[in-house]
């Protein structure tokens, strides 16, 4: 049987959307019969592969790494899905946008440190001025809002995509659902 190549990625989010995917419970196994999970925090692949049919993205784009990564993913993916409010609206990560990057970093690493107060600056990616939704960086094919989107909505969407109905309109869960 031909398995559809699927990836899931996680940018600046809380993993709740991935957990909601797991909340499909036994239905995860049904899905597993139809897909090959080629890249995901749940499997051991270090590099985002070529020719991925469907990629689910959780999380907002917050660092230079995120931005670079999502562009690469877009190149290698046929159908890109923004999964959950962080990817769709930048949600909680965007709440830091009210402040300057410096203020946010200093609060955590200088003011709230007992010792060695300093902002980490080596071998960590640069924070973008603002956390922003995925579609402000690359074209996104489908959007599934929700914090997190309920498993049923994820299942419907995946079924649609796997059935070859990429433009279908599965139920839209609400923002913040």
């Amino acid at each position: 049987m031909n398995h559809t190549r699927v990836a899931t990625v996680w940018l600046d989010g809380c993993s709740g959307c991935h957990m909601s995917l797991l909340d499909l419970d036994e239905r995860v196994l049904d899905l597993a019969d139809r897909i090959e999970l080629v890249y995901s925090p749940l499997v051991d692949s270090k590099e985002f592969p070529e020719d991925v049919s469907i990629t689910l993205v959780e999380g907002a784009v917050s660092t230079s790494d995120d931005a670079e990564k999502i562009r690469l993913i877009r190149e290698r993916t046929t159908l890109l899905v923004s999964l959950g409010d962080c990817a769709v609206t930048a949600n909680i990560p965007a709440m830091r946008n009210r402040f300057s990057v410096e203020a946010v970093l200093e609060r955590a690493y200088v003011h709230n440190a007992a010792i060695g107060g300093q902002v980490p600056g080596i071998e960590v990616p640069r924070l973008l001025k603002r956390s922003r939704p995925v579609h402000e960086f690359v074209d996104v094919d489908r959007f599934l809002p929700g914090c997190p989107p309920p498993p049923e909505a994820i299942f419907n969407l995946m079924s649609e995509l796997l059935d070859g109905r990429p433009t279908g309109s599965s139920i839209i869960t609400r923002f913040g659902a």
């Binding site: 409010d85 930048a90 009210r98 402000e136 809002p145 914090c147 839209i172 609400r174 923002f175 913040g176």
Partner: protein, 253 residues
Amino acid sequence: MTDRDYFKGKPRTDVNPVRILTFKIDGRDVTAREDETILTVARQNGIFIPTLCHLDGLSERGACRLCMVEVKGSDKLFPACVTLPRQDMEVMTDSPRLNEYRKKILELLFSERNHVCSVCVSNGHCELQDLAVTLGMSHVRYEYLYPRHTIDASHDRFSVDHNRCVLCLRCIRVCDEVEGAHTWDVMGRGILCKVITDLNQPWGTSETCTGCGKCVHVCPTGALSEKGKSVSEMSKRRQFLPYLEMMRRESRK
């Protein structure tokens, strides 16, 4: 007539005898008084038109532009909440074009402030959120503006979170038209508009606020809420409005 008489007068209220007319909404024949808006008539006939700044019992503003409808023979769009029907007019309330415009307006609204539905006191009871679902808005195509807004929690019982305000100005209208306090108004202009109490002072220090809470309950989003309500707990009670409106109509007779 003396020089200044006309300044003293309230706006004109003399109204001609009301006529009844017939017109069409979405192909259906409907009857209306000539002083009823298209929105009113549509609602009476169970036809849905999205609205945000409109609220039964308050004056109309025609400002949110979500209730725009098409009229046969005209290329223009008309706000249903303030447009009066004409005899034999043909109104269309639903078309791909209208829905697209409505969606875009809604997206502009979402992009304007910091609406984080997931942690909002009104999550699940929010008119803005509901509109997004109704209009099929899955994401915002415009860049978020991320303005810096604050919360004023100085009032004993209520708080205002400007991040969630859509500037429908229902609070101002209910405070002025129903409560008669006129504690609220809107300062500044354009994108810098902000609702304020008295001289833009902390709400808790307002000399005019009666603490009636009507503003909170007409607010379509979580901008105005009762303090201590946690996320998703703030649902608004509006039963009082039609009642008050009826009372006012009665007393005018």
